[in-house]
Structures are given as structure tokens and as C-alpha cells.
Symmetry: C2
Subunit: 346 residues, 2 copies
């Protein structure tokens, strides 16, 4: 029986949806769990289950909860004589966007040697930066849409063939995303996107594009997949609508697809997942255009861990919990310094 | 006047050379500085200047130094009433290899909001993984040698055209690196490299290849470069010889090169540096083959910060200290949760 510590919050545009996500998982995860909230000052609090309500956080009431601290091998409560360790077997990274998906939390958990479910540092950086996602996908022979990146300080602005989609290079969800059909809209869209990131990604916009999502993990027994979902959308999901996604525990819309498309989607997922994303429950969002599947983005900490896409989410948690990436032990023995000192003393 | 906190040690195959590197910088850096050691349990110690000697660490004597703790906005000494903050303006990341160059220390410093000289998280991940370096370079139109990556668990081993160089995908220095001229050497080299990483990079070995190193930074006044060095080498530097590099403060061997090659090297450096490596003093190692320059690797925390390559290393420190990447402020205001609650209460 595993005990989980669900870590949520963080300094991120998705801070609030991380709270919603954690509240959703409270009822979804059957095994024992505790909740650790990272607030906007990056202080950690241990939150009692009965306090897992949105208002407890938005009102600031959470500060009455016990503050805890990261140290080697765990989170600790301060105590007069010896700090008291918070007991759990595995952390679950449930911080969406910055802090959770950009490698910061993964690094902290690695540095302090805490076992966790979630993307490792490399996987985080590759999925958080949309250009790195494309470069990585191409090295795995997974197609993505062609693109252009521009920096806020570039002297020349590109003249794209409209319509185009404009996205901040590094954000999750659809924050700062726009579609531009002409030069005016394009310039406005750039201004919006540059509010969120100094780098912006531009892609062709296709009206007839289809979207499909697939979540999954790899365990000792091979890949375990969710259904392939065809998300409901109105041209492109805006942020408010995507927000709702993070509180879902039912109601996914299963895509009706021919087997050759399904197998393209599975095969792309496997190429992306292995071995970089081991240890994480990820959702890959795909595009389909003229019967060809393209990777759109990788969500290494999807809203409420995409639980609503799986037949048995608790089985997914069990499987991944016993298949986390192994750590490599580095032995520090001062052989080199000792050998120099030995020579000096001759 | 800036005060620096030099952070060194870490859990890394290069733990000992980080110590040597820090001892070297003790005399090189003119401004006030303090030294923070990260030991093999990832505990931090504040080391007095007079104790900055290799044996102090290899003997374990460093444990007599004051232990300090990472918290929001700095390192702290424990105290009965209120923990005491260790005063400094800027941290310098001087941990080589794992912990320092893989994004862990950068993440910690970002998370706890401490200003630092060194690669940011993305830059670390891109330079630490040799395949990511190549993908990134190609996106910047900087040539690299062609390569192949194999994983320890791949069923099929490649049959390369010998001679080839075999390197662990993720280590710095030349640890685990071999040249193989035939199948037996190749299989042995793979075994050696897989000791260090589950992924191994294979490149063609060229006997007539030249090596050139260039260190630099970008500040408000543009790029500031070191000399282009032609490192002394015997076919390929082995680890012991490279070790010595980390304690250097003089004696670089300036390359005699025609201006078209120098400008290829500068231009490649600029493409790589900007904007990903801003905030770091990096050394790029280049190859030259038939008058064409290729990026070999990016060292985002080079041995003793490559001080021996610069005319005036203290000027470099000054310039970069006042040109660190700006942080983007994210406002967390609970607008979304409040708006939901408002609707619910109607």
C-alpha cells in the first residue's frame, strides 16, 4: 500500500488550476494520500484533507496549516529538538505550468532524494519549451507542424502566410495563444504572447485540423494507454474552457478512428515516451491533417493527471509507482585529491 | 562592490575537480567572496577562506564548518530565535558535471529566488545532454558532427564504420570516453560508457581533426570573448589530463588561425549563446575539419570558469554580474476561484 504526497500550487499562471486538479484527485485516488501546497512565496504547507477546498487557498486561510520544509530525503515539520519527517512513500508532482513542468520541482525532488511520479528534469525542459518539443520529436521521427520562433528583441518581424497560430514558447494550457488572420491581428497577437514569454512560436493555422489526445505510461508490463479522446472544441479552446478540463473526472469523448490512425498515434506516443518520460503520467496532444498524425504538445503533468481518460486510473498509479526510473549511484572517494597529496608528500 | 558566494562540490563524478576549481578561483577573484560547499550528502557548509585546501575536504574535516540551509531568498545558519541569513549579492555556480550542469542547482537557485551566475535550467539541460546540444545547434544553423545514440536496452547494436568515438550521453569532461578501431574495442568501449549512462553517443573519429576552445559572455556592451585556445592534446585528452585543466589560471595556448576561421568560431558562439546561455560564463569547444568549424560541446560551468583564457577575468565577472537574465513576475490573485465562488453564491 503506497502513500502519496500530492504536491500542488507553485508560482505559475496555472497555480489555481493546480488547486482544482488536487481537489479533483482527492476523491479519485483510492490509496492513502496527503496534500502539500506550495504557495506564491514558495512556502510549503501540509493541508488536512477536510481543508481541500478552493476557498481555503484563495482566502489565505491555508496559512493556518502547518508549514513544512524540504530537506534531504523529505519534508519536515520544525520541532524543538529534532525536526519531524512527514511520512509518505511517493510524491506526486501536480504543479501545472511553471515550477511543476519546467524542471524546478523535479530538480528539488532529485536534489533532496525524494521519490516521485512526474517528469524528470530533462523531460520537463523538453516538453515545456515548444521548440525543444519539436526538435526532440524530429529526432524520434515523430512529425510536428513546421514553425518559426521569434524573439521579442529581434529587429525583423516575420511576414507569415495567414492565418497563423501564435503561442508563447514556454507556457502550458492556451494562455497567450491567438489565431491571426491578417497583419493587424498578428501584431496584436505578438504583443499578447510577449506578455508571457520573450520567445514566441508561430505555426500555420489549419481550419480542418483534428485534435486527439492520448494519455499513458510505460511499466514493466509495457505501455498502458487511456482511450484516444477527441476533445470538444470551438475552433481553438480558450483558457477558460481549458480550465474546466483540470477538474474533470468523467465524460471524455472517445474518438472514432480507423485502426491505421490509432496505430500512428500509439506509435508516436511510444517514440516520445521512451525513455525520457519514464516515471510520468503524460498526455500527448496530437493533430491530424490529411490522414497524417502530428505531435502538438506533451503535457507531462496533465490536468488532474488525465484520470478521466483511463478505465482504471488507480491501476495506472499502481503500475507507475513500481516502475520509476532508477537512480545511478555516484561514489565520491577523493581518490584524485589523495593521489595528488601522496605525490606531494614524497 | 559585489560579494560572491562560490558554490562548489555536489554529487558528481567531477566533485573533486569542483573543489580544485574553487581553490583556484580563491586567488583569481579580486572582490569579496565566500565559499559554500555541497557535500556528498547534499548538505551545505560555509567554508572559511583559510580552509580552502583540498585535504580539508578529502579528510572530512569540512564537517567542522558551519552547516547552512537553503530557504527562500538565501542560505541560512540555524539559530535559536531567528535563522541568520548568509550575506552575499550573487551566487556563482561552480559545480561541474551532475548537480551543477544538469539543471539541479539552477533550479534550486531559481526556486529559492537567489541571483546567480551560471546556466539557467534550460541551458543546463541542453548542454548536459550531448544529443540535445546537437539538436539545439542545428536549430541555430551551427554544424555538429553526425552521430548516433544507442540505449543500453536496445536489442540491436549498431555496426559503425571504424574508428569511432564513444561517449556517455550526459557527462562532462572525458569520463567514459573511448576511441574504438574495431568491433572488440567498440564492445568494450560501450561497456565502459554504459557504466556512466544508459545512453551512449557514437561519432566518427577523425585523426586530423583540430580542437579550438572559446569562452565568453554577453553583456549590455555586447560579446566579451576570451582568446581562441588550441588545447594541447595527445589524440584525445584523457580524464587525468583534463583534470589539470580545472586548476589552471595561466598558460593558455593561443591558436594561430586565419580570420575566416576565427569569424566562423565567433559566429557559432553567438548563435549558441544568445539568448539561452545569458547569465553564464561558458566555454564552447569546437572542432575544425577541412576548414569548416563544428560545435563539439558547450561547457556552461567550465573548469575554474575558464579564467585563464581571458585577459581580464575580473572584468568578465563584473560585466556578467550586472547583466543577469530578468525574472518575469507572475501574479497570483485567485481571480478564477473567486469568480467561480461568486457564481456559486448567486
Amino acid at each position: 500500500m503506497k502513500n502519496y504526497a500530492v504536491i500542488f500550487g507553485g508560482i505559475s499562471y496555472e497555480h489555481e488550476i493546480s488547486i482544482i486538479s488536487a481537489i479533483t484527485l482527492k476523491d479519485v485516488i483510492k490509496k492513502d494520500k496527503i496534500f502539500i501546497f506550495c504557495d506564491k512565496k514558495r512556502d510549503f504547507y501540509l493541508i488536512a484533507k477536510e481543508n481541500m477546498k478552493a476557498k481555503y487557498f484563495s482566502s489565505g486561510e491555508y496559512k493556518k496549516s502547518e508549514q513544512i520544509y524540504l530537506k534531504y530525503s523529505g519534508f519536515y515539520k520544525k520541532a524543538l529538538l529534532k525536526d519531524k519527517k512527514i511520512e509518505f512513500d511517493l510524491a506526486i508532482n501536480l504543479i501545472h505550468g511553471k515550477d511543476g513542468e519546467d524542471g524546478l520541482l523535479s530538480s528539488l525532488l532529485e536534489f533532496f532524494d525524494i521519490n516521485y511520479i512526474g517528469p524528470r528534469v530533462e523531460a520537463s525542459v523538453v516538453s515545456f519549451n515548444k521548440e525543444f518539443t519539436k526538435l526532440y520529436a524530429s529526432s524520434k521521427n515523430v512529425p510536428t507542424l513546421s514553425y518559426q520562433v521569434i524573439n521579442k528583441f529581434d529587429k525583423q518581424k516575420p511576414k507569415p502566410k495567414y492565418p497563423v497560430v501564435i503561442k508563447p514558447l514556454r507556457l502550458g494550457s492556451s494562455i497567450g495563444l491567438s489565431v491571426a488572420k491578417n497583419k493587424d491581428e498578428f501584431e496584436y497577437a505578438l504583443d499578447v504572447a510577449f506578455e508571457y514569454d520573450n520567445d514566441v512560436l508561430i505555426e500555420q493555422f489549419y481550419d480542418n485540423i483534428k485534435e486527439y489526445n492520448l494519455a499513458g505510461i510505460k511499466s514493466k508490463d509495457g505501455f498502458l494507454y487511456s482511450i484516444v479522446e477527441e476533445p470538444k472544441k470551438e475552433s481553438i479552446l480558450d483558457f477558460d474552457k481549458k480550465y474546466l478540463d483540470f477538474s474533470r473526472s468523467t465524460g471524455a469523448n472517445k474518438a472514432e478512428l480507423p485502426s491505421n490512425i490509432i496505430s500512428q498515434i500509439y506509435s508516436a506516443f511510444e517514440s516520445i515516451y521512451e525513455p525520457l518520460f519514464e516515471g510520468a503520467i503524460i498526455r500527448c496532444d496530437f493533430f491530424m491533417l490529411d490522414e497524417k498524425v502530428y505531435l502538438n504538445e506533451i503535457n507531462p503533468v496533465p490536468g488532474s493527471l488525465a484520470n478521466y481518460l483511463f478505465d482504471d486510473f488507480n491501476l495506472v498509479l499502481d503500475k507507475i509507482s513500481s516502475n520509476l526510473p532508477k537512480k545511478r549511484k555516484i561514489n565520491i572517494d577523493y581518490k584524485y585529491i589523495n593521489s595528488i597529496n601522496a605525490v606531494k608528500c614524497k
